[in-house]
């Protein structure tokens, strides 16, 4: 056991964001006295199988990249100081793959964010923080190998990658009306940031994602629909997929009536909404949208009608 550098309980204090503050990832481990850095060339003397690919990796030692403010570079930036590992002919004393695999998310992410500091700031509080997902789950092979055409970079259909875990969305994207993610026309990343800053919609609002493409819905309008302006697009729409046209959450009239149902005016077939009798229209196969076409907001009609 002594030949392994064991993580100490304190590593769990090491959040990705805190790592972004300049704390070394290796500090999370109980590094024995006397362990020193030997440089990647020494590592590759033995690990030549990795070196063959490592030369083209974004992390290749040839690129002179180091953990900001530390001067620690190459293999040892992630695997820790290697002098004792070398002295013991490669037996223990290194943060090897098996030890890394056993770490929690915080440590795994911290390994990457000690250099990728911008992602560290974003990650904390994001949707994948607190799960068991860490950087390497998506950026497979990009650590040691050339990172051009790995699955996460597969561009025909990036959505396929995310949907491996988000299986409920697979069903949504196969509904008759959907954003065409599986068809490769739009990507998950067009709306979602997998690294995500502190709840990206919390301060911009949920609608800000939708309005980047559907700009005309942003107005400004003289008459705004409260359901759009004071609430979210998802009050009426299901953005991933729906059985109903325009990605509505349910059949169109039913959706409007959730809020616009008025008791007391509901005598027989003569439904009245506002000051207008609607019974004849709704009994006659009319859809609310047939008249209220400006439902997202209007500059000309207070009742969002086409006039």
């Amino acid at each position: 056991m002594l030949r392994l550098i064991l993580p100490v309980a304190g590593i769990l204090l090491l959040s990705p964001g805190i790592a972004a503050g300049g704390v070394s990832f290796v500090d999370a481990f109980d590094v024995p006295d006397g362990a020193g850095y030997v440089g990647s060339e020494t590592c590759l003397d033995c690990h030549d199988d990795v070196g063959e690919f490592y030369a083209n990796s974004p992390h290749s030692p040839d690129r002179g990249l180091a953990i900001p403010g530390t001067g620690i570079a190459g293999c040892e930036a992630c695997h820790g100081p290697g002098s004792l590992h070398v002295e013991e002919d490669g037996d223990g004393f290194i943060i090897g793959p098996e030890i890394l695999a056993g770490q929690g998310q915080g440590v795994k992410v911290a390994m990457c964010t000690q250099c990728h500091t911008d992602k560290g700031l974003e990650w904390t509080g994001g949707p994948h923080a607190g799960t068991n997902i860490s950087c390497a789950n998506c950026h497979t092979d990009q650590v040691h190998f050339a990172g051009g055409v790995t699955p996460v970079s597969e561009f025909r259909n990036k959505g396929e990658f995310c949907l491996q875990c988000h299986t409920a969305q697979v069903t949504d994207f196969r509904l008759p009306f959907r954003h065409r993610v599986l068809e490769g026309q739009i990507d998950c990343q067009d709306c979602h940031d997998p690294h995500a800053s502190f709840d990206q919609t919390a301060w911009n609002g949920m609608n800000s994602v939708c309005l980047e493409c559907h700009v005309e819905m942003e107005g400004p309008f003289v008459y705004e629909h409260e359901g759009v302006a004071a609430e979210d697009c998802v009050t009426c729409h299901r953005p991933h997929g729906s059985n109903h046209d325009k990605l509505l959450i349910t059949e169109s009239n039913s959706m409007c009536l959730q809020c616009h149902f008025e008791q007391g005016f509901n005598a027989g077939d003569n439904w009245t909404m506002g000051s207008q009798a609607h019974g004849g229209l709704l009994n006659g196969e009319a859809r609310c949208y047939d008249c209220h076409t400006e439902v997202h907001g209007s500059n000309t009609d207070p009742n969002f009608k086409d006039q």
């Binding site: 503050g21 911008d118 700031l121 025909r156 005309e216 059985n243 059949e251 149902f261 009994n283 500059n299």
Partner: protein, 646 residues
Amino acid sequence: MKMKRTMTVTVLGLALLAFALPALAEETVDLPAQAERIWAPTGDVIGLDDHGAATFQAKDPHGNEAKGAEDWQLVQKYSGQGLFGMFTTNDSGANYWLRAYGDNAGTGGLVGKVDMGGNIPGRFKWSIDYRDFDYFYDRTSEMRAPEFAAPPPPPELDGLPSLNWRRASIRADYRLSDQFSLVGGFNRKCRYGDKGSLLRGFGNTGSSVPGTKLFDTTTNEFWGGIGFASGSFGSDLNVSYRGTDGTRSLEGRHYYKDDQTRFGAKLGLSYVLSDKFKLVGHGATSKLENTGWDHTGISTYDLNGETTTNTGQLALLARLGKSANLAASAKFQNLETDARTNLAADIRQATDRKRDSQDYRIGINYHGLSKTSLRLDYKYGTSNLDQTVAEGDVPGGGQVGEYQITNQTRTQQDLNFRARYRFGSAASIKAVVAWRNQEIDQKDPVLSSPGNELTYWMGDRNLERLRWELALRMRFGRWVRFDIGHQAIDQTFERKDFGMAESTWKANRGFSNLTWTPGGGILDLYGMFSYGVEEYALTTDPEPAASMNAIAYNGSTMRFTPGANLRLGDSLTLEGHYEGVRFEDTGNDDVIKKLQADHDRLRLRAGFDITSGTKVSASYTRNEFDENRWDDYIHHLYALSVSGTF
């Protein structure tokens, strides 16, 4: 003694192995095999090698072209498609990549996407992305009434609405030093064409075919930012300009001219207080203007609207002990809108609107229990709306007309709980419960002429919603996955000023996905079975008259997709895939005809390796859609492809 020590070490070793193996296994089971790509174009290549493919397609259609085009994005009888991907590193260590995909199967023009970029790791990164696609629309999809009997199609169904989206983005990141970085980019989005609308127009109801919306708009956005990080402090400042210009129309009757601009700036700050606490702050301001016009078919109104938004947020992120994270934040936002509609020199419509809002959030993650992660979030938000709308100018303006002043206070609470428990590496269960309470207090409107309300008045109201989700994810060995889940919403909405009118919405969605991918060697078998239900019912007190239009929905979707791959020798591969989908809606079927649609697809594909890097593929696809409304078609699609890696 020595034996005892050996046994102890062995037992300890096995125990360690028992703990270590699931840990290692979890690395693989978290992300199962790449999702099935059975409908990927013939000749499609994905991998780490540079690659290219060229495909020729011939289509033999029968039936309704419109629906077929929407589902398949295929209009042309003959079409081609190509795919290319390469990645290279030069002697100085810089990486470059170029990837492209294109076809002309839609309206005949070339569509697809191109992605190119490069980087000098740690220093400089750039990318250019361009996408050009046609979206096809089926205007008959929402139509459902007793008189819509099979067989289809009615003669009114003409043309095929299609909207072309073009998007381009350029982005560059440059790290000046360990402390400073620059980032900038340009986005462009263009829409051209028409899309299906829900509108059937005044007096056009029942079986009338919905109309179309026309688009010809362009949005350009420039943005740039600077980042600074030093020690415990990090910050970034971004500014952006977005402009949208163009025209739209609704069924050739109502025309819109967009001339919208938005200036925005965002500032992000973070500071690590200690090894347990971190502060994050955001500030943003934006100004949105629209100076276009509306032509309503009778008159043309000039628009002059402006919205200014200021937002600030402060958050504290904390690590509580070794197993819990806490995030707490407070956000303040102020939004002001001034908008006028002019007919020549006359102000016809105006608004002066102010909405102030605050929300406070606290969330905690806890993963101290074995195999369990828990998350609890609570949000309390309030907003206040002061709004004056007028026919003419608002009070204080030059041409004051009839006006209505509205004051509204909204209070909303959200409580969300998420829990996930892992049964070893093979199964996990997830539960989500979300509760929302919304109280809206709307004061009686102040009217310039009592009794003459300008806008629809909702009055005081209260919404209570409970949403829950339960999902079980299981892995049986390496090859079989089974996901099953249920989502439900139970909502009650009360309108207190309308005799306590109350509507109840209950929605239930169930889904299950069974995926199997056994195989290896000569024969691979795989597939998926999924079943989803969605129910919707709006119940009111008193009940609506029986003759009212549909306000119930009961849909189910069943999907079955088996497939097999057979390898014969070193060079020949045979593949067969089938996908059957049945969709039904039986809501209100005592009044309205039940909707039923069957979609069957079959693909047979053969691939032959000419050399170690070159492959020729041929495929036959049969695509049938059979619906008891208007759509019914069969497509036969033949494809021949040559692909290679280099």
